[in-house]
């Protein structure tokens, strides 16, 4: 039996909104321009227990993915892919010196920072795991239009429906693009190169 547990942390905006946006002046597929949503101040916890704030996104090119460690299919598949992407992009600027992959757990009840550290570093030693209380996750998920929802699976177990997009955040802390699944490493790399070149050309 599948019961909707009713715990919807829905951002006000659906994930499909960027498809419908005015893309005038945006030659790159999926580029959120000219009004990229800005990440507000956030107070999350990094996998080593230290704070993770907006300042940790500033000055970096971030590939962000949302999930949880009890997610056996989409999360490992996407994190393995992001490990390939990270390895390739690290070889060249601008990602080379300023790039980071951030995995945000939307299941703080089960994913402690220590558990997240083990989990993300299994995929790549550079990866950063981040989580926080539901109320602390909300400013970030709302700004990015990320939706997640707990769904009971019978018994005490539950799964979390979550955004499967890969979110690109630029060094100014703006969401500049979102890739929707199914993902391929080549497509993520190509999109990153196109989007980062465009943003650098604007600044």
């Amino acid at each position: 039996m599948i019961l909707i547990a009713g715990m919807a942390f829905a951002a006000g905006i659906g994930l499909s909104w960027w498809h419908n946006r005015d893309t005038e002046g945006a030659p790159i597929d999926g580029l959120l321009w000219p009004d990229p949503p800005a990440v507000p101040e956030i107070a999350l916890t990094r996998d080593d227990g230290t704070p993770f704030k907006l300042a940790d996104l500033r000055g970096k090119w971030t590939l962000m993915f949302f999930g949880f460690t009890h997610c056996p299919d989409v999360c490992p598949t996407t994190l393995d892919l992001l490990a390939q992407v990270h390895t390739v992009l690290k070889k060249t600027p601008p990602y080379g010196t300023q790039g980071q992959v951030v995995f945000v757990s939307v299941d703080p009840e089960r994913d402690t920072p220590a558990q997240l550290a083990q989990y993300v570093h299994y995929f790549h030693k550079d990866f950063i795991g981040v989580t926080g209380a539901d109320s602390d996750l909300k400013p970030l998920t709302q700004a990015l239009g990320v939706l997640f929802m707990k769904v009971a699976q019978g018994g005490p177990d539950y799964t979390v429906d979550h955004s499967a997009g890969i979110f690109f955040i630029d060094p100014a802390g703006r969401l500049v693009s979102v890739l929707t699944p199914p993902h391929t490493a080549d497509a993520v790399i190509a999109r990153f190169k196109a989007v980062s070149a465009f943003i650098l050309g604007k600044s």
């Binding site: 997610c71 989409v74 490992p76 393995d80 429906d161 929707t180 391929t184």
Partner: protein, 146 residues
């Protein structure tokens, strides 16, 4: 009379060994990352028999329980739900691959580790269950698109 009936039942059951037509290839289990207590397995199935067959359940003697799941992307969200019976007409295929259908396995007898070969079992509506080798891999074989 009673023994004749038994023989007849056995014969009828024998003729309906639907899992006999089932061919399962490329089965593999993703090594669960540390801290994760659920595992996912993937496989390619094909009905090489002459009659339609129905896969009704999946399991593994190496885990406490298992379920066939499908991951759907709905409005950009990854949604994992139980998948019903799989009906395969003669010649039909069913592919369980990352990002799509998978066998979700709970509570392993011991943590699955790359190099282990476990067992995947598929039950059909009729006939004997099919058991295939389930190697534990770090990631999808490169031939399988992610």
């Amino acid at each position: 009379m009673r023994s004749v009936c038994m023989v007849l039942i056995l014969l009828v059951n024998g003729a309906a060994l639907a899992c006999d037509g089932l061919v399962v290839e490329h089965a593999w289990l993703r090594q669960p990352p540390p801290g994760s207590d659920v595992a996912a397995a993937y496989f390619d199935a094909r009905n090489d028999g002459a009659a339609t067959l129905t896969i009704t359940a999946v399991g593994s003697p190496d885990f406490k329980s298992a379920m066939l799941h499908a991951t759907h992307v709905v409005d950009g969200r990854a949604v994992m739900r139980p998948q019903g019976d799989i009906e395969l007409a003669p010649g039909a295929h069913f592919v369980a691959a990352p990002g799509g259908a998978h066998v979700m396995l709970f509570e392993p007898a011991k943590p699955p580790t790359v190099g282990d070969t476990l067992t995947l079992q598929l039950d059909c509506r009729a006939g004997e269950p099919l058991r295939v080798a389930l190697p534990v891999l770090r990631d999808a074989p490169r031939a399988t698109p992610p």
